[in-house]
């Protein structure tokens, strides 16, 4: 956090301020990227085995990609993953924002317990709660097959059970930085609490909504444990499950396919990040807080 030294010439000033930042950032980028480079090189490796893969691509062949689509229902897995992730991100952001508004703007009995509760409940080791969820959904499948096992909607419901989580805290923290005067003046002008929320608050907190949306999207794409229990039909699987089944037995032989799938599922996440980037960057609050 070096302060700009104004008497210096522009170039020196830039150097003093930012070149060390770029240097450190390049180190971080190298650390972040070298395992990914290995995946890319493995995906392009014509032999498609683990032991023949190197850090730098040894060849450029699309055989692995072709084989992945020919031998597995990868397209169906992909659609499942994307639909689940988009729906879960959208609904979670909405539910979580509603709750964060209540926690930030109202004082009511149970507020403290509620806030602590949603943080603490997440700490319960999940792999056993899954036994309970399995038994619960065995019954649900009998009564309501459209939201039972092997359906996206049942799995989505379970994911939404975690909508109020640490993300709600994240949002509440951001909501707290929006001055109370803004929604109060709206109320003085005759707005209802709902209008204050949708018209005043939501536009101001877009950055945090974008961040939470991105986090939930990524977590859903990666989610593994619950999906194993839910999606048993090969066609209903998500990419995470499908890829795991590829390398569960024969990791060496299927490594090329695995690498291609890993890269393909990283693409939508990148796209979402790119799309939300401007919200995250712009930080709409800096303008509002001053007002």
């Amino acid at each position: 956090m070096t302060a700009p030294v104004y008497r210096d010439r522009p170039f020196l000033r830039w150097l003093r301020d930012n070149s060390w930042r770029h240097l450190l950032l390049w180190c971080a980028v190298a650390f972040a990227l070298f395992p990914i480079l290995f995946v890319i090189s493995a995906a392009l490796n014509p032999l498609g085995t683990l032991s023949s893969s190197h850090l730098v691509p040894t060849g450029a062949s699309l055989d692995n990609a072709r084989e992945l689509f020919a031998t597995t229902p990868f397209g169906a897995w992909y659609v499942n993953s994307i639909v689940l992730a988009v729906c879960n991100a959208a609904v979670t952001v909405f539910l979580s924002a509603l709750a964060a508004y209540a926690f930030s703007r109202f004082r009511f009995t149970g507020r403290r317990i509620g806030l602590l509760g949603i943080l603490l409940i997440q700490m319960f080791p999940q792999f056993l709660a899954i036994v309970a969820i399995y038994l619960m959904f065995a019954t649900v499948t009998d009564y309501w097959p459209p939201i039972g096992f092997d359906t996206r909607w049942g799995l989505l419901l379970v994911y939404l059970g975690g909508a109020l989580s640490v993300n709600t805290w994240l949002m509440k923290g951001f909501f707290d930085t929006i001055p109370m005067e803004l929604d109060e003046s709206a109320k003085v002008d005759g707005a209802t609490h709902a209008q204050a929320f949708f018209r005043i608050m939501l536009p101001l907190v877009t950055p945090v909504l974008a961040i939470v949306g991105l986090l939930v999207f990524i977590n859903t794409i990666n989610e593994f444990l619950l999906a194993t229990v839910f999606l048993r039909d090969p066609e209903a699987k998500t990419v995470a499950l499908g890829l795991y089944s590829l390398v569960a037995d024969e990791r060496n032989a299927n490594f090329g396919l695995f690498a291609v799938g890993t890269l393909l599922i990283a693409l939508p996440t990148m796209a979402v990040f790119w799309f939300l980037q401007r919200y995250i960057v712009e930080g709409l609050t800096s303008g509002a807080v001053k007002g």
Binding site: F31, A32, F124, A132, G161, I211, T269
Partner: protein, 536 residues
């Protein structure tokens, strides 16, 4: 309405004035949305109620009706404004998080697990069915072994084709006839495909052959169906039968009597032999005590706990330092050149599927052909030595986790007005002082809950350990507890490896882990200012 008022009491801000310019007016759009949403809720309730009514499940109907009534009350009454915002998320939270946790807690005081699954009647039916012997006139079936669910873990099901061509599905509860339209079968009577079941391949059958040999389908009074080889099954007469008067099982061939032990949930003979099939009973706190008093587990408990805390705290600290550091590097007054590209590249590790990358890192640490040794020209057995394994895992976990912290820190930094730091600088504070005393405290208010939840997540980060070292390396003098074992991986091995699933015991350990994590988290939240935020 006193307790529901909007507070204006933040740091001396004026209390809300009365509505001078007019009462709140609901817009037409708001009204339409509200009616639409409530109509949808009602429609869903009706849809959910029909199958319940059909099955005469009145408790279920009652729950649906109560929840629907609650929804209508909350949204139609002008009171309980905060509840209007909290209800949807809370209902889902109760159904899919709180209830499963309560179920786990209730399981932790039972002996639920393999051999103790159902009630006593089911245990008796299983014992009788298991003891059947073939008689000359035993009916024969063509057998297809299937599973309800995943081929390797789903409950076994025998698909049985009788001599007259009828197909039954036989599970631990008995026989159910199957609709021929849902089946594909060969001329021999073998089933190729059945709706709702997974037909096992020969390899999968071999994998579970012990289980299949022990499996029996109860078919009524003293009879049952067992497999004979892998493609035939027979229905026979039970040699072991339950006698009500002595509450015992009598074996008609050997003459041994197995008396019911209602405390432990199994049948035991006079010389201490225990029948395999027992039932579920309440065992109180035995499961909790077992972890501490059992000499096999008690000794490792403390060392595992210490590494577990070190692993979670170390990961949290590393990802926080790296993530916040990077966010600060890019938090410049004038936009840093190429910062969009930096952001995209830095967040890439988080975009990669984590389980896949864990497997990949394990291979990169491989001694013989791993990338790390090849690139560095070393020959280190990274995951084979206790401390290098621990270091490697921390490195991998930092790689996986720092982008999240980077994103969150970026968001949190943006919510802090720059004027505050500028004011401190004008007052003569150095860059570090301004950060240390102005920015960081404000940042910590938003970050502490995130850090606490990162800590809690990593405390139980099963995948990070299981997919890389699987708890190892193991020292020769203690083959049960590895150097990188977390409580959760250790429990998993104890409870589900070797002698079959022990849900009761595993649940008890889950509850213990939860108490430890919750306690540590509450302490650290209390240390920070985050809880004051809550109380404000």
């Amino acid at each position: 309405m006193a307790r529901n008022t909007v507070t204006g009491a933040r740091s001396g801000a004026p209390a809300p004035t009365s509505h001078v310019r007019g009462e709140p007016t609901t817009s037409l759009l708001g009204l339409v949305v509200k009616i639409g949403a409530l109509g949808l809720a009602a429609a869903l309730a009706v849809w959910a109620a029909f199958p319940l009514i059909e099955a005469a499940n009145w408790v279920g109907v009652g729950i649906v009706a109560a929840v629907t009534a609650l929804i209508f009350y909350v949204y139609l009454s002008p009171r309980h404004v905060p509840l209007k915002y909290l209800l949807p998320g809370t209902l889902l939270l109760i159904a899919f998080q709180i209830l499963p946790v309560l179920y786990t807690v209730s399981t932790s005081v039972t002996n639920f697990g393999d051999g103790h699954r159902g009630d006593k009647e089911q245990a008796i039916a299983a014992i009788e069915a298991y003891s059947v012997v073939r008689t000359p006139d035993s009916p024969q079936y063509t057998l297809t072994v299937a599973a309800d669910g995943a081929p390797d873990t789903g409950d076994l099901v025998f698909l049985l084709t009788a001599a007259d061509g009828t197909v039954y599905a036989g599970d631990a509860d008995g026989l159910t006839p199957l609709d021929p339209d849902d089946l594909t079968r060969e001329a021999s009577g073998k089933i190729v495909d059945a709706e709702g079941y997974t037909v096992l391949t020969t390899a999968q059958i071999n994998e579970r052959s012990d289980e299949i040999a022990d499996f029996a389908v109860p078919t009524g009074d003293g009879t049952g169906i067992r497999s004979s080889g892998l493609s035939m099954a027979y229905e026979g007469q039970a040699t072991r039968t339950y006698q009500e008067d002595c509450d015992c099982i009598v074996d008609s061939v050997t003459g041994v009597t197995y008396t019911a032990d209602n405390v432990n949930g199994s049948f035991v003979s006079d010389d201490g032999q225990r029948l395999l099939q027992g039932w579920r009973v309440n065992v109180g706190f035995d499961n909790f005590l077992r972890f501490v008093t059992d000499p096999a587990t008690g000794a490792s408990f403390l060392s595992i706990l210490a590494w577990n805390i070190g692993f979670a705290a170390g990961t949290t600290l590393l990802v926080f330092v790296v993530g916040l550091g990077l966010a600060l590097l890019m938090h410049t007054r004038t936009p840093l050149r190429g910062r969009t590209l930096y952001r995209i590249l830095l967040v890439l590790p988080y975009a990669m599927p984590s389980f896949a990358m864990l497997l990949l890192w394990r291979d990169m640490f491989n001694t013989d052909f791993g990338l790390i040794n090849r690139v560095l020209g070393l020959d280190v057995n990274w995951l084979g030595n206790a401390w290098t394994a621990r270091g490697s895992i921390l490195l991998v976990n930092t790689w996986l986790g720092f982008p999240y912290m980077f994103l969150v820190a970026t968001g949190a930094l943006q919510s802090i007005p720059r004027e505050l730091e500028q004011a401190a600088r004008i007052d003569g504070a150095g860059a570090w002082q301004a950060f240390r005393h102005v920015t960081l405290p404000l940042l910590m208010i938003a970050m502490t809950p995130i850090l606490v939840s990162t800590f809690a997540f990593n405390f139980n980060n099963f995948n990070a350990i299981w997919l890389t070292t699987a708890g190892g390396p193991f020292s020769p003098d203690n083959p049960l507890a590895g150097a990188t074992d977390l409580l959760i991986t250790y429990t998993f091995r104890l409870a589900f490896g070797g002698q079959g699933a022990q849900y009761g015991f595993a649940s008890a350990v889950s509850v213990l882990i939860f108490l430890i994590v919750a306690l540590l988290s509450l302490i650290s939240l209390r240390q920070s200012r985050s809880l004051e935020e809550v109380n404000r």
